[in-house]
């Protein structure tokens, strides 16, 4: 087949990229080589639009054992242990086929973790869908949740938390971001490296089929109404096969017969051979005829580009083959030798001995194109940032009604219907169950525990991507600190639209700047992550949505905190200060349909002080619960503190922030404004002095705003009762927030 513009377009390559390819290769490629280049140079594998920005992120710190560039990042969690973790997107496949798209996303991120020699112990996910009442959303939600459950439950890794938001802008392009964390001895982290000429290269796992060919290219293109035709590019997951692979690979790693290992994820055999060779400064030569195949008549092109799931590539030490093969035989898997490491730095592919592709590894990896794409602020921005609170006051509901509406909105409401479909208790480490705050897993054999939170706010980022991204980092770290854990490090999943449009590229660049600033200030280096671009359908982009996962460490697992009050008679203390900021808030969206204004301000030094204070208070056992104030503001946070307590109420009094000229509006801003760097904690009377003293020494505003008790949520603003709602009523609304939209699906 001649390589003409149509062929290049089908491979997602530009004519300039083709010229570069020919120059690097020193000749015209054949079709197999063109296919290999196309997937390795796709946005998904090469990060060609994002790389120049990602380089600015902080990635180092004494706690970081492995930064970006490997299959996952790793941090030191003490006692000789490392936490290995990463987040990844599976947005496009999940839209085309929700169950399998989400399931294979989970399978892929789990492989990234055990590939590093870590035993996976926790899964989380961050999901975004269109309006829950819109046609198709319930089906997508049900499919994605079932897919995550189907895979995670079967393989036996608990899904301990995450977040779900609903916004119309995600209707044609849902976001499915999945996170996995594993534990490994810090000294035994395994890398995806090929070295030592003559060392054997093994293929193990599922057979290769024609599924998923060009999955990486698909994830690097916008959607249109023909996307349904791309169904064959979505793969089918087999969690049982992956369970066997997981156990066998961890067992093989205990021998020292292994040089390196990598999973075959996006771009399959191509990516794993090229990347392992490039990392080790070596070459890899394989014969595709030796690759186990599920279908007959597969071409070298198809075998190299297949994205069949549950496959691993291993490099073993020469002379130790029998040990490796024996472990896989035990698990009824067959490690098949398909080639060997060479010294020439080439990816050489043979078919029955004949060379069918021969490309320098570096041409596929380090020499991939890098773009400094033009960026300029989007046209909508200036108008969207304008918010005249007093002028928009007409449609305002009463505070009680506003609270009911917020608690009943699917984004804020309970996700119990979702998480009870996930096995969140297997491995018996989950000490804070889903829905109660950050996910917390204890580390058996130690006193420690890890807290994990995933957070993002697309609406904030739409209104100000830099600020929104900073707030996402701050919220994730704050949630971890509310559990009592010291934030250690972060991973990011950057979901954006088409980077070839300057407005999108500007959003991306701004968001990365914001993440960098916040991560530096809060001492949570980025250890890895994933970029998902081209999240557009029919030219409409999603909100720019960076999702941040923060991992934190508790020295004492039994001091982990949840959001729920412990009983009546406790004092309620507000840490931080509300400034009545309603811009971009859930309140404006839910009660008035407005997505306007600027997101809340963020003083990173104040945020850092608050987080350190929270960790200190938990460690000293001075507080009995802690909850971050974010979506829905103080009123929603207080209500959530009353939930899952068998009806314990609370009565508080707060000041009006003076954010609006009109008193009633000022009350709404006090209740529902989303000012950052705040937390509600509860305590017994005798611990109060210690709390206030420690807060003062860290410069964190702290004051008693009320106490727990009774059976109602009561809030007075500037001396006037604004909220008075029975806890039972509020909790019923909150519990039904998702299921009331799912009558046909709900169990």
């Amino acid at each position: 087949m001649p390589i003409d513009p149509q062929v290049l377009e089908r491979h997602g390559l530009t004519s300039d990229e083709y010229v570069r390819l020919v120059a690097l290769l020193g000749r015209e490629p054949n079709m197999t080589e063109l296919g290999i280049f196309s997937v390795m140079w796709s946005e998904h594998c090469s990060y060609k639009s994002s790389r120049v920005h990602l380089r600015t992120l902080p990635t180092e710190g004494p706690q970081v054992l492995q930064g970006p560039g490997e299959n996952a990042g790793a941090v030191d969690v003490g006692g000789g242990l490392a936490a290995v973790f990463k987040i990844e997107s599976h947005n496009h496949p999940s839209f085309i086929e929700p169950y399998q798209g989400a399931a294979t996303g989970v399978g892929g991120i789990i492989r990234d973790i055990f590939t590093m020699g870590a035993r996976p112990i926790a899964l989380l996910n961050s999901l975004r869908f269109g309006d829950l009442d819109a046609p198709g959303t319930a089906r997508l939600l049900d499919g994605v949740v079932s897919g995550i459950a189907g895979y995670g439950n079967s393989i036996g890794i608990p899904t301990i938390g995450g977040e779900i938001a609903f916004e119309p802008v995600y209707a044609g392009n849902p976001l499915v971001n999945v996170f996995c964390l594993g534990i490994a001895p810090a000294a035994e982290i395994v890398k995806g490296i090929a070295s030592g000429a003559g060392n054997p290269v093994y293929y193990v796992g599922a057979k290769t089929g024609r599924d998923g060919i060009h999955g990486a290219t698909m994830a690097s293109a916008e959607f249109d109404d023909r996307s349904a035709e791309k169904r064959p590019a979505v793969q089918v997951g087999d969690p049982f096969m992956e369970k066997l692979l997981l156990e066998a690979c961890l067992e093989v790693m205990k021998t020292d017969a292994l040089v390196g290992i990598q999973d075959m994820g996006a771009a399959g055999l191509t990516c794993s051979t090229a990347e392992m060779g490039a990392r080790g400064g070596a070459g890899i030569e394989i014969d595709v005829a030796l690759v186990p195949q599920r279908e007959t008549g597969m071409t070298p092109y198809e075998i190299m580009l297949s994205e069949s799931q549950e496959r691993m590539l291993l490099v073993a030490r020469r002379g130790r083959e029998a040990e490796v093969e024996r472990v896989f035989e035990k698990w009824d898997l067959h490690a098949v030798r398909i080639g060997e490491v060479t010294a020439d730095g080439m990816l050489r592919v043979r078919a029955h001995g004949t060379v069918v592709a021969e490309i320098p590894n570096r041409a596929l990896t380090d020499e991939a194109p890098i773009y400094h794409r033009p960026a300029s602020p989007p046209e909508y921005l200036a108008a969207a940032q304008q918010l005249d609170l007093d002028a928009d006051a007409r449609r305002r509901p009463s505070p009680n009604d506003a609270l009911r509406s917020l608690l009943g909105s699917p984004t804020i409401g309970s996700k119990r219907w979702v998480y009870r479909q996930y096995d969140h208790m297997v491995r018996t480490n989950t000490i804070v169950l889903p829905g109660a705050g950050a996910g917390v897993v204890r580390l058996k054999g130690t006193d420690r525990a890890l807290a994990i939170s995933l957070d993002g706010n697309g609406r904030y980022c739409y209104l100000d991507p830099r600020q929104g991204a900073m707030l996402a980092v701050a919220e994730a770290a704050r949630n971890v600190a509310c559990a009592g854990a010291r934030p250690l490090a972060a991973t990011n999943c950057l979901n954006f639209g088409n980077p070839e449009r300057p407005a999108i590229m500007w959003q991306f660049a701004e968001a990365v700047q914001g993440i960098g600033a916040a991560c530096r200030a809060l001492d949570v280096p980025i250890t890895g992550g994933n970029v998902s671009l081209y999240n557009e359908t029919d030219g409409r982009a999603i909100y720019p949505t960076p999702v941040i996962g923060v991992v934190g460490l508790l020295e004492h697992a039994d001091r982990a905190l949840t959001r729920s009050f412990s009983g009546s008679g406790d004092l309620i203390v507000l840490l931080g200060e509300g400034r009545g900021e309603l811009g971009g808030s859930e309140y404006l969206k839910v009660t008035q349909g407005l997505v306007r204004g600027r997101p809340p301000a963020l003083d990173l030094a104040a945020e850092r002080a608050l987080q350190l204070l929270l960790v200190e208070l938990a460690e000293a056992r001075l507080i009995r619960s802690a909850h971050d104030c974010s979506d829905g503001g103080l009123a929603v946070a207080l209500a959530e503190c009353c939930f899952d307590t068998q009806g314990t109420g609370a009565e508080i009094a707060i000041d009006a922030p003076g954010a609006a000229r009109e008193a009633a509006l000022d009350t709404a801003a006090a209740l529902f404004g989303e000012s950052a760097s705040r937390a509600i904690v509860s305590t017994t009377g005798d611990a109060l002095a210690g709390i206030l003293a420690r807060a003062a020494s860290r410069g964190v505003p702290a004051r008693v705003i009320g106490q727990t008790g009774g059976s109602a949520i009561r809030i007075a603003v500037a001396g006037v009762t604004a909220i008075d709602l029975a806890v039972d009523d509020a909790e019923q609304i909150w519990i039904a927030a998702v299921t009331r939209h799912l009558t046909k699906h709900a169990a």
Binding site: S154, K243, R420, M425
Partner: protein, 243 residues
């Protein structure tokens, strides 16, 4: 006493059972691989939860054909205590060691949550430390725990007092809303006619520590440990053909 915890390919709660037996109750415990030909001196056999062989055909359908199940059957026939938890219960049903079968949960969704269970029998090796009618709060995690038996078989199960645990509300009352999966007669656990083989859908190993916010599962382990101390050695019939 020595716990033998059977690992099938796809089992995923074996570490949890081992942790409970060994680290929390100080007992000797080890894994039995599904291809093993003997029980390595186990005094109690636990079939843990998970998805043996992926559960692609039917839950628990393949595992009864594993080599280790021969010695397990023989052990059970001699009166040896065998506990199947979740997938282990499903395997015991498929193996014919317990009566009945599992259907998909009413509602067709996997359910992971705490449930309340009423103890119906305290004369099995796994419930002897519990009180008759005691209500336990223990988690479940399954997609196919909707216990079923046809009317005649169900009548026999009830007549022979083979129901060990039932799903109830916190006060121990039967209630449809307290039945998480639609099990007939709210059955959460049954035993063999002789009482030494018990299958249960809830996971006692997930409720043995204050850190996991629940300790009601301890009574299952305390029961079997107590059984072994007081009655176990005498109760076990000598192995047929043993030296």
């Amino acid at each position: 006493m020595r716990f033998g915890i059977v690992v099938f390919p796809g089992s995923n709660c074996e570490e949890d059972a081992l942790h409970a037996a060994r680290d929390l109750f100080g007992q000797d415990a080890d894994y039995l691989w599904h291809k093993d030909a003997d029980l390595k001196g186990a005094d109690v056999v636990v079939l843990p939860g998970g998805f043996a062989h992926g559960d692609y055909l039917r839950t628990g359908a393949m595992a009864p054909f594993s080599p280790v199940m021969g010695p397990v059957r023989e052990f059970a026939a001699r009166g040896g205590p065998v506990l199947g938890i979740c997938n282990g219960f499903q395997i015991l049903l498929e193996a014919g060691l317990l009566p009945g079968a599992m259907l998909r949960n009413r509602g067709l969704k996997y359910r992971c949550e705490h449930v309340h269970l009423r103890v119906e029998r305290t004369d099995t090796p796994f419930t002897r430390a519990a009180r008759q009618g005691q209500v336990l709060r223990i988690p479940i995690g399954h997609g196919e725990g909707n216990y079923f038996a046809p009317p005649d078989a169900l009548a026999a199960i009830e007549r022979n007092r083979q129901v060990v645990l039932r799903y109830t509300d916190a006060a121990g009352r039967l209630a449809d809303a307290a039945n998480p999966n639609g099990s007939v007669n709210a059955i959460a656990s049954v035993c063999s006619a002789s009482g030494n083989v018990v299958g249960m859908m809830p996971h006692p190993e997930r409720a043995c520590e204050p850190l996991l916010r629940g300790e009601d599962g301890r009574v299952i382990f305390e029961s079997i440990i107590d059984w072994f101390r007081s009655a176990g050695r005498r109760a076990l019939q000598p192995s047929v053909g043993a030296p």
